[in-house]
Assembly symmetry: C2
Homo-oligomer: 414 residues x 2
């Protein structure tokens, strides 16, 4: 691979960087170096994770504020510390990892990614799930409400969202038992039992920091609160959801588990991935109107694999609403923001059939099963199915930003 100009020969980056995990990325995680050891904050370079607090402990180039922000077992302290500390930390890590002189002091604080245990990267405060893909919302409208216009009248006026369950956001690799609930039956009353229409939702999630107790985070101020990105699989029981969701929205059809990837890619790593969002069809309220600024979506390419076979490639660049708009919307009513708040984009679906981010859409509610390489058909999830969502985005100078993966396996109902 081509090394960034800032990387010196002999530096840690020069020795360890791999495509996707070069010095342009530097995602954070909470890791325990070994069984029984306390978790700490790490930053990834190639197949190595650097113990950040240990590396900066005696570093005269890091401020006391930065050293305090990296002292915890995960990202929580750093999220609270705010944008200036985020920027200073990233600049310092970039300098150290690219410096030949710094390499000997960093070397003892490197751990192989394969040898460590990753934990939840941050404590989720509130979790909001949006519905920001026009293709997804249109598909779902056609499937669930075939007698109505596919998009509800509000859809292009505001990014629709709702609160999910923060306590069941789980780390990648967590098994997901099939949830039970009330399922509609073709005739008569609903029946209680394991979901028969268990699904995924391939989404992109945004980790927030720098609290804003009075809410009202403006579009132009969004960068002070958007810390980084994870991949999300918002598992969904479509039958339970269909019976319960009118009039107050999804509840048990979603709340059993939401899986997230374990490496938090900083927003600063995604500047080369910024793309213009689709043209807006409706004039927007002032707090959502980004036409005078330079609105940006993100060119993140997702890949959904079922039991090892790629079944979809959802393009995040097609999202109608931008991350800044989602953040401005969720706080415009004065709802305070806390560090650790988290929002996801909603299912990412492109215009093509093989770009849909849910099995509901891929199999058109089970009516058009997709043939799989293993001789089976894809409709909804079966017990023991494993779903892995991966993603990459363009980095600077032709580099690639890798998001790692969010994986989960379905267990039989308890």
């Amino acid at each position: 691979m081509t090394l960034s100009p800032s990387v010196q020969s002999g530096s840690i980056a020069a020795q360890y960087a791999t495509p996707g995990f070069g010095i342009e990325n530097l995602p954070y995680a909470s890791f325990a170096p070994g069984a029984g050891q306390d978790p700490r904050l790490g930053v990834r370079i190639g197949g190595q994770v650097l113990d950040v607090a240990a590396a900066l402990a005696d570093d005269g180039g890091a401020s006391a504020a930065v050293r305090a922000a990296v002292a915890g077992p995960n990202l929580d302290l750093l999220l609270s510390a705010g944008r200036p500390v985020w920027d200073e930390l990233r600049a310092r890590l970039t300098a150290l990892l690219g410096s030949a002189d710094a390499a000997p002091a960093l070397q003892p604080h490197l751990h192989s990614v394969d040898a460590v245990e990753l934990r939840m990267p941050f404590t989720v405060a509130d979790y909001v799930d949006f519905y920001a893909s026009e293709n997804h919302a249109t598909n779902v409208g056609r499937i669930f409400r075939p007698d109505q216009a596919p998009l509800t009248p509000n859809w292009k006026h505001l990014p629709i969202g709702y609160h999910g369950r923060a306590g069941t956001v789980v780390p990648s690799g967590t098994d997901v038992p099939r949830p039970k609930g009330l399922r509609p039956e073709p005739e008569g009353t609903p029946s209680f039992g394991p979901s028969r229409r268990l699904d995924i939702e391939a989404e992109v999630g945004f980790v927030l920091g720098g609290s804003a107790p009075a809410g009202e985070v403006k579009l132009a101020d969004a960068g002070n609160h958007l810390f980084g990105v994870v991949l999300v699989n918002d598992w969904s029981a479509r039958d339970i959801q269909a019976f319960e969701y009118v009039p107050l929205g999804p509840f048990l059809g979603k709340s059993f588990a939401t899986s997230i990837s374990l490496w938090v890619v900083p927003m600063a790593a995604l500047e080369a991935a910024r793309v213009a969002p689709p043209a807006r069809e409706k004039a927007l309220a002032s707090y959502l109107d980004d036409s005078a600024a330079e609105p940006w979506g993100l060119d993140i390419s997702l890949e959904v694999a079922l039991d090892g076979q790629t079944v979809s490639r959802p393009p995040f660049a097609t999202m109608y609403w931008t991350p800044a708009q989602m953040l401005a919307h969720m706080t415009v009513n004065g709802a305070g923001l806390r560090s650790g708040d988290f929002f996801a984009s909603g299912t990412v679906s492109g215009t093509e059939k093989d770009q849909r981010g849910s099995f509901l859409e891929l199999s058109w509610s089970g009516k058009e099963p997709l043939p799989l390489d293993n001789g089976k058909e894809l409709t909804f999830l079966e017990d023991k199915n494993e779903v892995v969502i991966r993603a990459t985005a363009p980095g600077p100078d032709g580099s690639v930003i890798d998001f790692g993966e969010v994986a989960g396996r379905i267990l039989p109902a308890v």
Copy 2:
């Protein structure tokens, strides 16, 4: 007042108990004795609050587990400790406060309620809001969806609920700025601005403890997780809610603020208030079917005052779904329960006009304004309006359990 038989003359209870805050109640709070002092756990008797940790520090009758559970600044440690510790603590406090011998040692740890500052009594983990009043759901259905059956087909099969915003659950006395958002207009596109239909929802909230990571809290096990009760005012911007809520439910119309009362009344104080719920019209799924047990609602009488005038008296005894059913429902899909999880009942409305728990219902969406004593009319909330919700329930031996109040004042939009 008549003293409980367990109260000795000369005891703290005998000296200080008042109607509503006798030895039968003993609600908990987080209080700071004075400005700048750290908050701690308190229990109320009459107009006094006892510093629990201080009172039990040298008490040979309290176990180490109890002393550890009361050592925090609020209820969090106690909620985690679980039912046996809750029961032991209450038994010990009842014995000490009713004992003449114990009075001299307790006396230095009493503070006048008027002299202390009350704080949030616990850290809210996830917040769920239900919709458990048939009268309320019927009224709302008639107002919002006049062309359809007032109750959705699912309503009598399960307690409908959704996740609210935990980070904006605020203590009684917090001012509430009028929220802004997109409001539907009679013609054309929606407009952005301060809510014109700001409302209250008088509810009863349940504080949960004793975590259940795998969810599935059975009806019979609900008592191990229901710690206590607070009053709730779930402020609601009806215009913002009406425009946003299809298809994913309420979001910004609710998320700006939810106020709670500051004294947490233990479930153990409410055994005399148990009442049978209304007859069930539909056969229930096994996890909700309480017909073979002794199902119980709670005979809590609420009172809603607008600027000092009582405008409604909602009866919680009329709720269709019981607290145990709500808890069983929210966990049946395997959603884990954390200590500090919190759920509210949804608006409490009785069958009569003057028993409705929202202004939406009291004024029938503004079409039937209620004349007020001050010459004004009640429709929706005006700036500077103050709403206070109080409640009582029957206690043992003819006593009364007082819940205190949840109060809040509307400020002009920012």
